[in-house]
């Protein structure tokens, strides 16, 4: 039985872009990142920026993997929509201002964490929903770039989740973000449809502009397959029966 992600993908890994599709969502992977960061890393901190989901779900799912987030000082949940509108001037019309508010909020948090010499993991759940809600891809690209710069300065890892609607034509925002990322994790459904034993497969690619990366990539032919359980996922190599029998 394998585990994913390896800890060098979670700690000080730069910008990890996770793409998924509707038949194979990557919720479980975000929770795995959370798990590895909070459990395995000493002196760690995690900031979860959520666009769609609320804290209850994140908390409940994490508790199924015996990770308690309620009173946890290492975990901070930020509701993206609420935080982006909490500006003193109440200018809700301008997209850039709203994104800027988030950057401000995060820079304060990350700065405080860095002063305490802790490792931070910033997870942005779902930059695609932001695009569908009206933010332009260019504004979101600049936002991601600012986030990446912020995280690089403090040695934090940034994880952004993006939904792919059509695997053959991923979209403009994906192409822009791919240029920025250090790692790209692709979560794909099986080509033959849904199955009881295997829920999907994931591949790890290194980002196009980075060199000398620590983690060994997983190509599509040697993808890691996974099966979802109530609280997480079980990983096994493609073509083997480790998780099934």
């Amino acid at each position: 039985m394998q585990t994913f992600p390896p800890s060098d993908l979670v700690i000080n890994a730069g910008f990890v872009l996770i793409t998924d599709e509707l038949p194979a969502p990557a919720d479980f992977l975000l929770h795995r990142f959370l798990h590895v960061q909070i459990r395995d890393a000493k002196q760690s901190h995690c900031i979860f920026l959520s666009v769609s989901e609320d804290f209850d779900r994140v908390k409940t799912v994490a508790s199924k993997a015996t990770l308690h987030l309620v009173q946890n000082a290492k975990f901070k949940f930020v509701d993206f929509v609420k935080a982006s509108e909490a500006s003193p001037e109440k200018t809700t019309g301008d997209a850039d201002t709203r994104l800027y508010n988030i950057i401000n909020l995060l820079s304060l948090d990350i700065g405080a964490v860095k002063a305490a010499e802790e490792q931070t993991l910033v997870i942005l759940d779902d930059i695609s929903s932001l695009e569908w809600l009206g933010f332009s891809p260019l504004a979101l690209f600049r936002f991601a770039r600012a986030l990446k710069a912020l995280c690089l300065k403090s040695g934090a890892t940034l994880v952004i989740r993006l939904h792919i609607l059509d695997a053959s034509e991923p979209g403009h925002l994906f192409r822009l973000l791919l240029q920025l990322c250090s790692y790209h994790i692709e979560v794909r459904p099986l080509a033959s449809g849904r199955s009881g034993a295997v829920s999907g497969e994931l591949c790890l690619h290194s980002g196009p502009c980075e060199s000398g990366l620590k983690s060994r990539p997983l190509s599509r032919t040697s993808a890691l397959q996974y099966r979802l359980t109530d609280g997480g996922a079980m990983f096994f190599n493609k073509g083997t029966s480790e998780g099934v029998l």
Partner: protein
């Protein structure tokens, strides 16, 4: 010292018309009114979840029908129902109700009750009957899902009573030229209704029968997505409510919403299925004669877990993750049919070549029909088109063998039409007088797949 049996406490505490989800004890489910749809969703629709039904067929109103079941079930259970529609009252009056006479019109029961007993081979005698759908709740005391009858309409007294006791709320849509502002105002109204109801103990069902229909004005895809996203956020804030939405037929397709539209809708809601009726496509009607449309599942609700409850507990979908005889099996294909009395979702199985309905003993003589059936309209539905292609391939093979003996000149034309037939959907079935054989399509098969 006498021992008292401990009664599980959750039975006493759960409100009427709800059930605890089998996969997660903190999730409360309510019924959609259709037992087979409940099964596909994993027992029912969880509270705080929004579900979308896409019904892209322009010629029928299956989306409306599903919403009427939702409303009827809510009224029957005594839950609060809020209909967001300008014609809310007339929609509510068109809902179905339980029939007075409790007759079990089950497709399989006719065969069982008939006098003749067919001789079953000894090795199959112990097997149970082939089931294509889940059984509906038969006892009348079951308040989770009532068995509604499409031929009986909801009594006016029930509607009046529900309105008077504030259990039936109608919200008008009232979209004017400024669509975005109207939608924001509508969301504000919905929030007011939700906050009022959350102070009481009753559960709230929000029903939007036709999102995107004419009363919603010049709505754009971005507005629909914004509405769905904001509605889901509202439901998370008021977790005693849930929402069931049907999209108007013309907005269910990628032609309206752009590339990847259905997936976008799936991402922004908790449950999304589409029921594509066969209305505009006669070749599909011929291919699946006992059904009215195909069901595709895009997303299933998983409010507190990673794995949707439906993956483990749905009998219709037939996924099982445990190691065993069925380990690694794929999912069943689903279709729906609307009989005189109810709407049922069923598993669908392709016929063996030639079909179990007809046993051909003489070659078919009507080659002209199959040759002249040119390419039919391209189907956008990938499931059905795959089936159509495979079936067309089978059909052509069969006819080719026949054509050699019957009509040697016809084989030339057949070869050229084979490519056309492969691109097109299946040719219509040749009309023959039905031979009476042991197997009939409307009787359950005697063997288990």
């Amino acid at each position: 010292m006498s021992f008292k049996r401990r009664i599980p406490s959750n039975h006493a505490n759960s409100p009427p018309g709800t059930r605890i989800s089998p996969s997660s004890p903190s999730t409360v489910l309510i019924s959609t009114g259709i037992p087979s749809l409940d099964d596909v969703l994993g027992g029912g629709l969880p509270l705080s979840c929004s579900s979308v039904v896409l019904a892209p067929d322009n010629h029928s109103a299956y989306g409306d029908l599903v919403q009427k079941y939702f409303v009827s079930q809510g009224i029957a259970c005594g839950q609060q129902v809020c209909i967001v529609d300008d014609d809310g009252p007339s929609f509510a009056r068109g809902c179905m109700w339980t029939s007075v006479v409790n007759n079990e019109e089950d497709d399989g029961s006719r065969f069982a009750q008939s006098g003749e007993r067919i001789k079953i081979a000894w090795r199959y005698e112990k097997m149970k009957m082939f089931q294509t759908t889940v059984a509906s709740g038969s006892s009348s005391k079951d308040d989770y899902c009532h068995s509604f009858d499409l031929s009986s309409r909801i009594p006016e007294s029930v509607i009046q009573d529900a309105s008077d006791t504030n259990r039936l709320i109608i919200l008008g849509v009232h979209v004017d030229e400024n669509v975005k502002a109207s939608i924001t105002r509508l969301l504000g109204n919905i929030q007011d209704v939700l906050s009022v109801s959350s102070s009481e103990t009753a559960l709230m069902r929000l029903c939007i029968p036709a999102l995107g229909s004419a009363q919603w004005g010049d709505i754009e895809p971005a507005d629909v997505l914004y509405f769905l996203h904001s509605l889901r956020r509202l439901l998370r804030r008021y977790p005693r409510a849930c929402a069931s939405i049907s999209l108007a037929p013309h907005i269910c397709s990628e032609a309206w919403g752009g590339r990847g539209w259905i997936h976008k809708v799936g991402w922004l809601t908790d449950a999304a299925i589409s029921m594509s009726g066969f209305g505009g496509n006669p070749s599909l009607v011929a291919l699946f004669p006992s059904h009215h449309g195909l069901v595709q599942i895009h997303k299933l609700p998983a409010p507190q877990t990673i794995l949707p409850a439906s993956d483990k507990y749905s009998t219709l979908r037939g996924l099982s993750s445990s190691a065993g005889a069925n380990a690694g099996s794929g999912e069943n294909n689903l279709a729906f049919k609307c009989t005189r009395k109810r709407l049922i979702l069923e598993t669908i199985h392709l016929d063996v070549e030639g079909g179990v309905t007809e046993r051909r003993t003489t070659p078919s003589t009507n080659n002209a029909i199959s040759l002249n059936a040119g390419p039919v309209n391209e189907m956008t539905d990938e499931h059905a088109s795959n089936k159509g292609r495979s079936h067309a391939a089978l059909e052509v093979e069969f006819e080719r063998a026949v054509a050699v003996t019957a009509d040697p000149q016809g084989s030339q034309a057949l070869a050229s039409s084979r490519s056309a037939a492969l691109d097109a959907t299946t040719t219509p079935k040749v009309k023959r007088p039905r031979k009476k054989v042991a197997f009939q399509s409307d009787r359950p098969d005697l063997y288990d797949f």
